[in-house]
Each structure stands twice: as C-alpha cells, then as structure tokens.
Amino acid sequence: MRRGAILGAFALVAAAALAPLLAHELPLAGRFGGELRFPVLRCLTGEDRLWFALLAALCAAFAGAARLRRRSRAAVAAPAAGALLFALLACCGGGRPRLDELDWRATRAAGRAAVVPTPVGFGPLESDDVAIAAGVLPAPPSARHWLGTDGSARDVAARLLHGMRVSLATAVAATAVALGLGLLVGLACGAWRGFVDLALMRVVEVFLCFPQLFLVLVVFAYLPHGRTTLALLLGVVGWTTTAQIARAEFLRLHGEEFVVAARALGVPAWRLALRHLLPNALEPVAVAATFGVAGALLAEFTLSFLGFGVPPPTPSLGQMLAEGKGVLETAPWIALLPGTVIFLVVVAINALGESLRRRPAPRRRVA
C-alpha cells in the first residue's frame, strides 16, 4: 500500500515535471540540414527547469532513504542516476526555437530533416491544421491525437499533461503558504498561550465559519485574478487546519521532560522553538499537509472551472471541463478526462497521506 502510494504520487509528479519532454510543439531531437539539434531541451523555460530541479531533489531523497535503510546497491544507484540526469536537464534551456524546428512537420515532409518528435507530438497551445482541415471538431481519439482534440483542434493529451502541472504547482505552492502560516500561528499559540492563544484561536474560528471555496471567491472579487493570487489565496484560506494541529502538538510537547530539561539548561526561547519543539511536531503536520495538497488541488480545479483560475491561454483542467460541458454529447472525453486526471492525482496523494498517518511514529517503533 505504502510503496504503491509513494510510487504513484512520484509518477504523477514526474509526469508533470517531464510534460515538456512528453508533449511539445518542437521535436525532441532532429538532424536539421546535417546539424544535430535538441530543440525541446534548448528551449526549456525557467519553470521547466525548476520542475526538473524538484524532480532531481526528489530522486536524491529517494537515493538517500535507500542508502540509510541499507538497500541493495541497485536500489541506491537508480534514483541517484535519476537525480544526476534531472539535475543535468535543469541546466539546459534558455534558447529560442528556430523556424525550421517550429515547422518540423513540413521540414520532415520535404526531406530536409530527420526528426524524433515528442511522444504526444503536440504542444498544449498548438492547433493542428490537419485536424481543422479534416473538418470534424472536436476530433475523436485517433493515432494522431491519442485522446482527441478540443474544439480549437488542440491536442487533449498535451493539454491534460500541461494542465495537471499547472494545477500541481498551484496546489503545492498554496500548501506551502498554508504550512508556513499555520506553523507560525501554532508556534505563537504554543509559545505565549494565554491571551495570544485565545485571540488567535478566535481568528481561526472566523476562518472556519466560511466554506473555504466561498471565502476564496469573495476575496477574489476584490483582487486582480492570476496564478499567484490563486496560490496565495488558497494558502491563506487553508492555514487553519495546520495551525490547529501545530498548536495541539506544541501544547502537548510543552509538558514533556526533554523540553523542561532544555529550559532548565537555559536554552533560549527561539532555539527551543526551532530545534526542540518544531522537529517533534512535524510529523502530524506533514500528514495534514499531504491531505492539504489534495484539497488545494480540488479547490483549484473548481475555481478554474468557475472562471477564476489561470488566465486562458495557459491550459487548465477546470477550464477544459467548462469548455467540454457544451459538447458532452458528441465529445464526452473533453469534459470527463480532466476530472479523471484530478481524481487520479487526488487518489495518489490521499493514499500517500493515509499511509503516512498509519505509520507508527519513530518513538513508538523503538519502544
């Protein structure tokens, strides 16, 4: 169960990170007029590179965990090699596409290039002229478009991949904001108790009063729409759970012997909070954060369906659903697939959280 959950979640993060290598309007590699080029790699954007760096870090963490547990050499070497590869990929990019690369289909047809396209073969924003010429839009699934196209002849598979990545990035950023705020408030409640605790808990209650989605919507009315606002808002709305859990943990830890001992030894308050309390309170908070990512993902999906998500040219799953609703009869895949993708991601994340929650705490395992 746990291995499956970790692997599933990793596969989804990898798919999101590798989206440009899987679906791009440029080819992966090609010999253009005798010159070997890697257009996708050359044209990676800053965001793509950030994703690769994240993937490299994840792989490195896996390798480290395998090493600590004295797994076989292969179990350590494989993720380590992956980390190296992704770190290298993160160093590529920054270039601009050239005309013969953008028009690689024509170039190949004219016999002026040997080209290896991406598996999907289309970018998320690219309208396929051949599908338009065929006259049936949205085009049903075919060998050319695995999951068909939408009403503007854009490849659904490519849009799903890139849309999932936008959703994941937003959800993770939102959770990070929620985690930071929640830990801070929880720490303040645990450290000063009394009046501060009482006042902050009232604030938490006010937040809990509102259905989360509604709160985000209302605040959205007064703010400029955009991706950063969305992530920040989802985070600001979601911090209450973390705060409550962190507060409970800090209050519990305050009575423990090692904290009393540290105090007696004259450890300063900030050090007590950061080095003694925080690490011991992290586990339940991490579990809550995992479920938080799933919640933020669902919220982002709904918001972008309602028209408050990422602005249009960027592919977004909720928007795809909103567009696909009108053609539910003739092209049900457009409306049903984005929801299915979100469903799979949420299942993987929740399964991960569930297995983390059931894992016995290290202290108990020793005892």
Binding site: E205, V218, L298, F301, K325, G339, I342, F343
Partner: protein, 326 residues
Amino acid sequence: MRAWLLRRLLLCVPTLVGLTLVTFLLSRLAPGGPFASAIDPEGASRVPLQEIEAMRTLLGLDRPLSVQYLEWLRRFATLDFGTTLGIAPVPVAARVAAALRVTFWLQLASVTLMLGLGVPLGVWCAARVGTRREKTTGALLFLLHCTPMLLLGTLLMKLFCVGPLRVLPMIGLHSPDAPDHGLAGALDLLKHATLPVACIALAGLPGIARFARAGMLDELAKPFLVAAAARGIPERRRLFVHALRVGILPIVALLGQIVPFLVVGSVTVEKLFSLPGMGQLAAEAILARDYPTVMAVSVVVGVAAMAGFLLADVVQALLDRRVRLA
C-alpha cells in the same frame, strides 16, 4: 445553562463585528471604485471634477470611513442591501431572497439524503468492521471521497441527460414548456432537482459515513453493549438505539459546518447545472464586480455560518453536559 448560553451568545459579537468590518473594508479597498469609469486611463477626467465631487457628497463617500461603516451597518440591519450595479439595477435583497429559496431547499434535500444514507452506512461498517465486504465498502468510499464533485456531476450528466438513458433534463429548474403549478409542475421540478441533489449527497456521503463509523467504533467497544448483547437484545436495536445515541455526537458537531452550506449552496453544482442559487449569484456578482451583491451575500453567509456553529454548540450541550462544563 442560561449563563453558558449567554456567554456563548456574547462570543458571537466580536465575530459579527469582524465579519462586517472585513466585508466593508474589502469593498472600499477594492480596485476601481465607483468613479473609475469616469476617469480616462491617461488621467484626464471625462466628467467635470466638480460633478464627481458633488456625486461623492451625494453618496456620502466624502465622510469618514467609520461614519460610512456605521451607516452601512444600520441599513444592513433593516435588510436594505441597496441595488445591484449594472445597466438595470435591481434591489439586492430581492435577488438574494430568490436565490436563497432555491439554495435552501436544494441543500436541505441533499443534506437529508446524505445523512439518511451516510449514517446507516457508517453504522453498518462499524458493526461489520474487518469483514471483506466492509473493507470493499471502505475502499469504494475512499475512491468516492477522492472524486471531484465536478467529475461526479459530469458523469451523472453524461449518463442520464445526454448518454444512452436520456431521462433527466440537464440544466435549470423548470422546463420552459412545463406548467408552474400542480402535479405536472412538481414532477418537472423533481426531475430537474434529482441530479444536483444526488451529486451533492454523493459527494458528502464518504465524510458522513467515515464520521459515523469512527463514532460507532468507539462506542461498540464499551462494556454496556457487551452487556446488552448478553441480555439478548437484538443487534439492530443495540446498534441504532443503544450505541447510536452516543455515537452520533460527533455528527452533531458536524452540523455546524453543514448549516452554512444550506445558505451558500454548492457553487460547483449550481454552476454545473445552471441553477439560480446563492452560489451562482455569488460567482456571477464576483465576475461582474457587483460589490453590493457580493457584500450582501458574504454577510448573509457569514451570519448563517455563525448561527450554524451556535446551533451545533447548543444541541451538543443539550445532549452532553460535559461539553458545557469545558
């Protein structure tokens, strides 16, 4: 009890003030403002400045914020929400009332269905814990819990509205050709409401079932139930009369979170099925930047939420004295 109730009611006052104050300040800090359209992007004014000033005085916008807030609060207390912004102004109160009616009945039906299915399901799971059937049910509930409401809604739509079955209408609350009153009208309404209600109920089902299961598991381990079984009391009576009476307490606490939904409605489902409820109203007002409506909706929702928490606390206190003492 009376002293406790009084204290609990007093705690609502700061929340209420915070709520209205935040709503008011947000609307004043919002970009644009009432005269933004009268001023060119270059900074030149299309309307003479004196006229803008006169208008500001007329609308009372030149007075201090605190005076404006109190004035707004006074009008709010008498349910005077002003008129909507836009080409054809309508009293906000009328729109809110109309939307509230739709949402309230829709949500009430959904919540009833959700509790009616979820609680027995949770009780059953707790009674049969560990069996293969219970595990399968648990796994299915987990998957349902992970399903986005939108996917659920589109699937239902695909199945019953445009798919092979084609038995239910897809959007709205009334068919244009159906009569408003009488049996035919009621049947038409029922048909339109089936899918939204099913969608909301199914989405909430796993949470309720899980809560009921956890509460019941705690109870079932207690000696009084073993004693009841030894006395030969039938299982159904033991579960639903003896154990559920205490095991249902955590669900009562959930009531506080459910009541606000009776008023907000599910934005998602209302938008998906094009129902003229509060969620839809809020989403439209926000997209149109219609601040009077947004303010009215958010205050109404906030007050309802507070009332919900209050109700949950009172019911809990009536059922369990220990809560009151805490």
